[in-house]
Symmetry: C3
Subunit: 205 residues, 3 copies
């Protein structure tokens, strides 16, 4: 069992877990937003609220980092982990926001698959956070996130080929590409989270 | 009064102030460039000179950082602050440069408002830099920068909706979007500067 | 002569050299991919293999960094250098990949010049890496990289003006712009590498 130097150390784990659980909520909202064709505005507002909640988690982690002398792992790693989790939230919220802003009604069905990968990655990340305490069983987590990122990449590339394949006019391509770029950004950011956790675990080992 | 460990410490404040004052000059040039419809090339050249001046300030800060053992605040924070100030300059110069390169004659009037927000943010940042010495009265600065960033965001989103609203052809959308994206990047980078200063002040408190 | 604290120190230099040599291979593949008008798929596959090799070099550097207590220069600089070299590879691979994905047949001839600059920058970077050991004759390297980056910038700007000049339809502009943006990203990333090396040399001096 790892020795805890101060009782306050705990809250990093709690805050990271809260931040990751918030991503699960956000990714499920995204699935809904993509799936329905109408009345998306209430869902998009919920997503904005989700993003605000995420900002508060990030801010709480940064504040604690600035106030603490002792941290459970490298300050830089805590900073990176919090920033990458925050990036994922920002990407997901931006995708939802652009769908509303551009009033995109029908998205290619591959976008559903892109978002399902984000949902799975969110769940895996939320499950992995409590394991940071023991540093156990993290290996399978980052192998699986890397696998999902590759899958997201394949879906993204097929979507690009479809967008530019002649089926859509240039303005529609521009709008849709911005949405799927945000979703691809989220998938990449899950890999950054996994890489930071791998790096923390290696230093600990 | 804060104790100064060496007389050389001063120049970080002077260099940051010079870098921020340069942003005030650049933002006023941008207001002019956007406002006139012709003969922009002389103004765009002035902007390029402004960007070179900014590079020299950044380089001077980085050189001092590499040579100093003692710094008035964390090395990483000095690095981040200098980089973010430099990013703002780069975004503003890129916007001016693209207007010239794409020979954009008429920009939507909301772009004027976007640039006025940048001018106000530049002024506030330049006024805040000397207060880094005493670490006093910084709170109002970052509250106001955050307010301005939200305002910039609203203007940017309205501009996007307008650009994609059917009034412009796809190539015009592409060109204008690149300009307003650079301006939005500058607004975001002002928030990064404010966040870094908040983080410096919190550690000091 | 610099004292070596442990024999393992050597491998950082070897790994950086391997990473830079891999960029030479990649840039030559890019020249070929741009030059031919057909049968690019085998070349694009070779590029993907090149990118995998690059990932392994980066991973080996990061792993060593996590395991070492003593490093030949600042940990943060090793991290930045490895990341920037990896970024260059990613940009070059992405350009090749997009050419295949969008089935772009004819690229403006200025793209050849853009890629030739990357080839020259790769060669200079590969030649500079072994000089990190002695920290000698690095000055001419970063002056030349900065000159090449300015040249790349000029070519890129001319390409943008051409793309938006009315010769191409909006979808073609979108596709080509993504490719040349990746190439410009690679040119910028060579400057990041040179800046990191300048910073390492200054601390050492």
């Amino acid at each position: 069992m790892r020795l805890r130097l101060t009782p306050r150390e705990d809250s990093y784990y709690d805050l990271f877990a809260a931040s990751a659980n918030n991503l699960v909520t956000a990714s499920r909202l995204l699935v809904e937003i993509i799936s329905v064709d109408s009345d998306r505005s209430a869902l998009i507002e919920k997503m904005a609220a989700c993003e605000h909640a995420g900002d508060e988690h990030t801010h709480a982690i940064m504040r604690r980092l600035n106030e603490s002398f002792i941290t459970p792992f490298d300050r830089e790693d805590i900073y990176r982990l919090a920033s990458s989790l925050d990036d994922i939230m920002d990407y997901m919220e931006a995708a939802a926001d652009l769908i509303g802003l551009y009033q995109i009604e029908h998205l290619p069905k591959e976008v559903v698959r892109q978002v399902e990968v984000l949902e799975r990655a969110s769940e895996l990340t939320a499950e992995a956070m409590p394991r940071l305490r023991s540093m156990k069983n993290l290996n399978e987590y980052w192998i699986e996130i890397n696998r999902l990122e590759n899958q997201a990449d394949q879906i993204y590339r097929r979507l690009l080929a479809k967008l530019f394949g002649g089926e859509y006019d240039a303005l529609t391509v521009l709008k849709m590409k911005e949405v799927i770029d945000q979703l691809e950004g989220a998938a990449d950011a899950f890999e950054h989270v996994a890489n930071t956790i791998e790096s923390i675990a290696l230093k600990d080992g």
